[in-house]
Symmetry: C2
Subunit: 389 residues, 2 copies
Amino acid sequence: MSLLEDGTDMHRTHLMAPGPTPVPERARLAMARQLIHHRGEEFKEVMHRVRRGLEWLFETDSDVLMLSCSGTGAFEAAMTNFTRRGDTVICVGGGKFGERWGDVARAFEMNVVDIDLQWGEHLEPSRLEEVLDAHPDAAMVTLTASETSTAVMHPVRQLASVVRQNSTALFAVDGITAVGVHRMPMDQWGIDVLVAGSQKAFGIPPGLGFVAASERAWKRYDDCDHPRYYFDLGRERRRQQDNQTAFTSSISLTLALQEVLEMMRQEGREELIQRHETNAAATRAGVEALGLSLLSSRHSNAVTAVVLPDEIDGAELVERLRTDHGVIIAGGQKHLSGKLIRIGHIGFFESADIRLTLGAVEEVLNQMGLDSEPGAALTAAQRVFVQQR
Amino acid sequence: MSLLEDGTDMHRTHLMAPGPTPVPERARLAMARQLIHHRGEEFKEVMHRVRRGLEWLFETDSDVLMLSCSGTGAFEAAMTNFTRRGDTVICVGGGKFGERWGDVARAFEMNVVDIDLQWGEHLEPSRLEEVLDAHPDAAMVTLTASETSTAVMHPVRQLASVVRQNSTALFAVDGITAVGVHRMPMDQWGIDVLVAGSQKAFGIPPGLGFVAASERAWKRYDDCDHPRYYFDLGRERRRQQDNQTAFTSSISLTLALQEVLEMMRQEGREELIQRHETNAAATRAGVEALGLSLLSSRHSNAVTAVVLPDEIDGAELVERLRTDHGVIIAGGQKHLSGKLIRIGHIGFFESADIRLTLGAVEEVLNQMGLDSEPGAALTAAQRVFVQQR
């Protein structure tokens, strides 16, 4: 009998979805603080520290602007501040979020060139080069670096290099599940616009989007003719350089952000990335030891997408993990609904969380009829953890 | 010596600005909760309760949509979903926020007819009637019901009636400091679009904007040709009717909102408005007893704007209240900077907060040379509180 269903709710809940991700206690306590005024000196000092922390994480000398919106709002801002109406935009698909940027571009009356990919497939640099050759007028290339719907990590560094060498297009990267998870040094790699969101590697609640833009991108800003007001990044930049926001700040989230950026700095940027890489490798090793295969051709450190055998119903698996173990993972999206599970490991997770999740997945799958040796997933994961130390 | 300046920080801080406003403990504890997944059943139940609570407060049968943005984002959404490019929009000015809607409309290439008002002056219905007669093609009239920069409350009910009787324009009301503060029954009064924000009467942190629209407004939605994606209210309505949000929900703020809506229901809608009215009346009585005058020709229950004598420097007064008493109020904005103080009384304030504020204001003003009888402000306020019980 499920502990949740009988109303006792005795299970701890383990949020192992690819975001939102559990919020560390010191950030939750910051969320519970009484408000400070967003136009006062104390908040300015918070903004100053947060801005330095974001620049450190994005590895950029540019301003990383904070916006009160979800990641989609931040990406819309990226598109509508650095292109013109009717511009050609090359949108890399291959997943729910990659395809969304094509929809955003169409909503803003741009000429969209879609690069269609099988869900699970990553973009080869040579293919991008061909598309750029065919569209020399392209003003922007959009890419979801880590595609949350498929667990694909695209080769961002090589793709950035292809854009730079073959085009004057800006390279706009949705780093919502990549920043703080994979190295993403925007200045060094030549990323023009990089977007992130609060509820992913930052491990705080949703509600803040981040956008950083290169000087190359800011030069296009002045010619931009999209109508915009709330998402006018020029106004935001002027205000944020003064440690203010253009409109009322999301005060509590900013206080929480200050805490997690400090945690990230204490851990170290390389160590933060390495921890994600190890957790991801251990998760993949675990599910492969169950005889299951991965959807992604090139793997994200944020999420693992596991293809289920036909006889296993994904929705039932997700539901049993939740009710029997309090483990919250995600299923497949769109046409992969029911055929996939997605285990998130983005944020402040340690090896215990991965063991907890793999243990529950293995137990339920065995109960649902999957034939594997009990302990196989945990054993495979342990080998990864032991090797990495 | 200031307790804050010497670093001991022993003062409690009393946030008496016109928003953000102190967050009740049960809402702060909700902010500190571990996240729940925004696509799970528990969150859907929260959304269901919150939607019912918002409809109760807005006094409407329409959907009150929640958006992850500040109030300005919500107002932009109101404008860009229910008008067409080039439409004539009549924007009532007379303060920082009223004038902002003219700026938003201009950013979206609309034909703006400004109704200029002296800051502090309210709009007479007869004047709106004249402007409507001169612009029979107007598609929308925008009004900031309670103008936070001047403490003016416009006669919304009469203005709505004028719009209805003289025009086919939609009446879009910024109720950011009016909803939950003054009665604002949108269906009964014929308000077409009503906007609010989380950090005002709701008493939770900034980051959520609310928009409700009449069926008349939704009929215009289908013809709307403004480019938009994040703020597409049609998509939001479809999702929120299913107790979801179109993009990642501001989970923690929604949990906090659930708490304060419950508090408002327990207090009662009439009692909530009455409490604001009493606190506002007591504040006005207090400052008038000091011989000071009010800026507003018709008063908001959210904020009191006090005109200072020439010999009193507003910036110094605000600063001394902060450092000597921990009382945070606001100064004047734009051309009224330094000439005005604005005392907020929007949110979960009781008479003790008003006495605390008036006591500090009186003490500091007397120290700065204002000649009044010590206790005059408190005495005048007490008369109001006693009479109202």
